[in-house]
């Protein structure tokens, strides 16, 4: 859920933000003290709910609500106000609800559970790849079990390379860093490759991988839901999800700018 918060008083905005976060920890929150910035933002990024202070210096909350509804008619407006006399004016606007200040998270929760335009929660369907934080793969919301941990690591590396291919030697160097390349190692890589393909095939995702003789790459067109790939396309949610950590479970993520390295060779 995407939620906008607006109040020109910094302290009130902080209180509101905390209450909304407590009521709905999974929601993405965007807070603004300046109405101009809020309007600029919302044009490119529609939101599901907007908690607005009715009385703000630059533009009153009712005007703001009208503008938001013009941009997105199904936005849910919830007025937060310390002055109940404004309720009358706002009434005719068919807003979703009202909160009296100081807002409590329980009151916020109540409003979120009774929205005028209910928000369809995104169901986590299909393959979802997470790179921010630890590398994890989910299918229909559940973690995908790879038959071997190195199979998962291989998949992570292919994702990291963003469609640039690699051969057996490169994979061996990555997965078995201290071991010299040998026929045995080559066979081990092939076993791991098969294990990875098997796990992907179990969820019908084997076409994520392009394989030709000694060349394996991820098919970026088939990866519909990867946080890093969405980030690269300026997906607002993905950009906000990044907090400084990428594939923390693999140490090579620090040393390989996979995409670029290959282009140099």
């Amino acid at each position: 859920m995407e939620i906008l918060l607006a109040d020109d008083e910094r302290l009130a905005l902080e209180v509101l933000k905390e209450a909304v976060h407590k009521a709905c920890p999974d929601a993405s929150l965007y807070d603004f003290q300046k109405t101009g910035e809020l309007l600029e933002f919302v044009v490119e990024h529609p939101c599901d709910v907007a908690f607005l202070d009715i009385e703000m210096r630059s533009m009153n909350g009712i005007e703001l609500a009208k503008r938001l509804k013009e941009i997105n008619p199904s936005v849910n407006i919830v007025f937060a106000t310390g002055y109940s006399e404004y309720m009358g004016q706002a009434f005719s606007m068919h807003v979703s609800g009202y909160l009296l200040k100081p807002v409590t998270w329980q009151a916020v929760k109540e409003e979120l559970e009774n929205l005028r335009h209910p928000v369809a929660q995104e169901r986590d369907t299909g393959l979802r790849i997470q790179t921010f934080g630890n590398f994890e793969v989910f299918y229909n919301g559940r973690p995908l079990r790879f038959a071997r941990s190195k199979a998962k690591e291989l998949f992570a590396y292919l994702i990291h390379k963003r469609g640039t291919g690699c051969g057996t030697r490169e994979i061996a160097a990555l997965l078995f860093e201290d071991q010299p390349y040998s026929l045995t190692l080559q066979k081990q890589v092939q076993t791991i490759m098969s294990a990875m393909m098997k796990s992907l095939k179990e969820v019908g995702a084997e076409d994520c991988i392009i394989r030709t003789y000694n060349y394996t790459a991820v098919d970026v067109e088939r990866i519909e839901n990867c946080d890093y790939y969405r980030f690269l396309k300026w997906d607002v949610k993905a950009v906000n999800e990044y907090t400084g950590e990428y594939m923390m479970n693999y140490s090579w993520a620090e040393f390989v700018i996979g995409y670029l390295d290959n282009k140099l060779m």
């Binding site: 600029e40 300026w234 950009v239 400084g244 990428y246 993520a253 620090e254 700018i257 670029l260 140099l264």
Partner: protein, 118 residues
Amino acid sequence: MNIIIADRDESSAGRLSRILKDLSTDAQILHFSDPMYVVKYGLTNPIDVLFTEVRMKPFPLDGLTLIQMIRAKYPDVSCYVVTETKNYLEQASAIQVNGYLLKPVSVEQIHRAVVKRE
């Protein structure tokens, strides 16, 4: 005017920042070690000029991809690669950077690069 410097190397970024500050008193100059944060910044703030290193381990985004991303959102941005090696010259020209500067950057280099913009 918003000028962004993306580089893991603090002293290099500091050096560039000082040179830029002397040249342009009213520009806002921001330094980011993590190129991903340049994108986060660019989500809600315009970027006029970008100086970026190419490799910024351990962060996943490289400077050339960063340039392409910022250009996609702010087509008029001026982008400069600032790096120690000439290795990326070909790739940088392929994406038509506004300049390729070798470290350590000199005042003259920056002057030529930035003044050309006006």
